[in-house]
Symmetry: C2
Subunit: 361 residues, 2 copies
């Protein structure tokens, strides 16, 4: 169906080897006029290299696999985007499979990807650590982008939740708040404990006593935020601000406040986390800390390609910092919108300005 090297060879009067070298090996010394001629003929005939043959010969595919728990999760598409943008610069393609939170499917996916259509794998927001023996012994490099459970592990790129939580709390303190409550994330989740730790750490850094009565357990959902907030409003000495561990719970808290006759932000300030899309759509718009998902993907891809080139070489867990998006729910002057939380070392201008999927619209 497609034009082959041999046909080009015949048409141009050279041998297959020369044609191959002229077309793909810029280092091999081939006469300039020969190369020109061959290139020309190849273009004229519409030559497209047969990747299967090339892969068979070279044992590399210029393709990586992405295993995501669910592409419908709000964080996964930006991670993928970050990965793909980096890949494109290096002529790599990506094969994406959903594991659907199902270990068996994830297993199948890994096996399918090991059969060599890919040179490496990135796990995007994977829950169960499915680095099984198959994967290990295949020798294929792999990287985790935002694994949700488990402790620190090599080859992973994760959000710096501790830092981000501190950022949120610091913002509230800066606005004069001293009684700052927190609605925690679901128990067992890595982000939940990290964000709580960041909250406590920043309180300590600001010399504010930690008050257990101001901490409520949440569930990552709207409902959990709503009911947690109701409890907080009833505390003897109620908070003037609430840090919700994610945006959905922040929204729940806002609605609870409104239903209780409190105005946000005048009567109570509420800050969220994740920078979900709806935070800039809702009334009031929610101040929040972003998940640096795009950059996590970008970084993961960079590291993976590095490993593919230089052989597997484990690296430490890398944490990416999010930034604070100041909107309406805390009462800050929105015009002074800062880009605090930006780590210039890891965030390229380009990502920030053009590509960051987080800019306010």
């Amino acid at each position: 169906m497609g034009v082959t090297l041999e046909e080009i060879a015949r048409a141009s009067g050279f041998s297959v080897s020369t044609v191959s070298r002229a077309l793909t090996n810029p280092n091999y010394p081939v006469n300039e006029v020969t190369r020109k001629r061959i290139t020309e003929v190849a273009r004229a005939m519409g030559y497209k290299p047969n990747m299967a043959a090339r892969s068979l010969r070279t044992d590399q595919t210029n393709t990586i696999g992405i295993i995501a728990d669910d592409i419908l999760s709000p964080f996964v598409p930006p991670i993928i985007r970050g990965i793909q943008d980096y890949l494109r610069e290096h002529d790599f393609l990506s094969l994406i499979v959903n594991s659907d939170w199902d270990p068996d499917i994830e297993q199948d996916a890994i096996n399918a990807l090991i059969s060599r259509p890919v040179d490496g794998i990135v796990f995007a927001e994977s829950s169960h650590l499915a680095i099984n023996d198959n994967l290990r012994q295949s020798g294929k490099p792999y990287v985790f982008a935002h694994r949700l459970f488990g402790s620190t592990i090599a080859n992973s790129v994760v959000p710096d939740d501790h830092y981000g939580a501190a950022l949120a709390v610091r913002h509230l303190v800066g606005l004069g708040h001293q009684r700052i409550a927190m609605i925690k994330g679901r128990e067992g989740w890595h982000s939940a404990s990290r964000r709580f730790a960041g909250y406590q750490a920043e309180l300590a850094a600001q010399n504010i006593d930690f008050d257990p009565a101001l901490v409520q357990q949440g569930d990552w959902e709207y409902e959990g935020g709503y009911s947690a907030a109701r409890v907080l409003f009833a505390v003897a000495s109620p908070p003037t601000a609430i840090f919700a561990a994610n945006d959905l719970m922040a929204l729940g808290a806002i609605c609870a406040a409104q239903d209780a006759g409190l105005r946000v932000p005048q009567d109570i300030a509420i800050v969220g986390y994740d920078n979900r899309e709806f935070t800039r759509i809702v009334r009031p718009k929610i101040t929040t800390v972003s998940m640096p998902v795009y950059e996590m993907g970008h970084t993961a891809a960079k590291l993976l390609l590095g490993q593919i080139r230089n052989g597997q070489e484990d690296f430490e867990e890398i944490q990416i910092k999010g930034r604070l998006f100041i909107r309406e729910s805390c009462g800050a002057d929105v015009s002074q919108q800062t880009v605090e939380g930006l780590d210039p070392a890891t965030t390229s201008r380009r990502i920030l300005l053009d590509r960051d999927p987080d800019p306010d619209r």
Copy 2:
């Protein structure tokens, strides 16, 4: 690096051909005990077929390409999900590339995918009809899932916007509304004109006179909905209901109503379109018509695989119907939530019950 057929052959005492047939060709007559033995040895040795070699030989890859304008668009991930769920049942993988609304990139993507790592291509939410000669003459099957511009074209699966708009209007009429305004989508978009046509058609079907004063041009965005609504409120004989061509504009209209001192739905009913995630998060929750994105992807994948099997065989444009999600913004009794708009012929129970990403939470 990997176990090959030859190694299995040596280990099991059979020839490479027999091993191959035992492992992959269930039709070829090979002795049952032989097959057992070979299968066993293969498993023991951890055999994984080399896809590159297989593809080279058979000229098929069991992989399709998906070209999406932007995976960050709200509709793309569910389309992809629909595609992939179908693919998995047939042991296909999918290579995804973003074209970023850039014809050049799309061109590159097509070229990259033609070099045979894929057996077919689906364009997910693609704008510019980039079916170029390269693609045509490659002979690879392709399908469009939700193309945004251009007129009817073969091999595409699109939402039935005319039907959906009628559905929304009929719902309003059913609630007693007679003066129903519409905020149109951005000009030039296929969906915009189709939804407007559906609105007009349903008015006619209900014997309601069409009043041009009740139609405002929108821009698909919040702001457009907001300002269009303000204009509508100032009309001599104002509408009692508004059909916004998408959810973002519906939200803008709701906020405009609230700012104007009108209660939604008591003073004015508002219905949106798309069933975006935020419609079930906002107050009031927005009644809307869903984009059957998941099913569109699923259908597109099915059609594409059919073409791959039986050779390219163009089919007519296929329209998929969305359904009405009754929520709070129109004042209907929410308990009587129906699944109107469901076409049982094309929507499998499974998709609807388990997989439809649209169920209310």
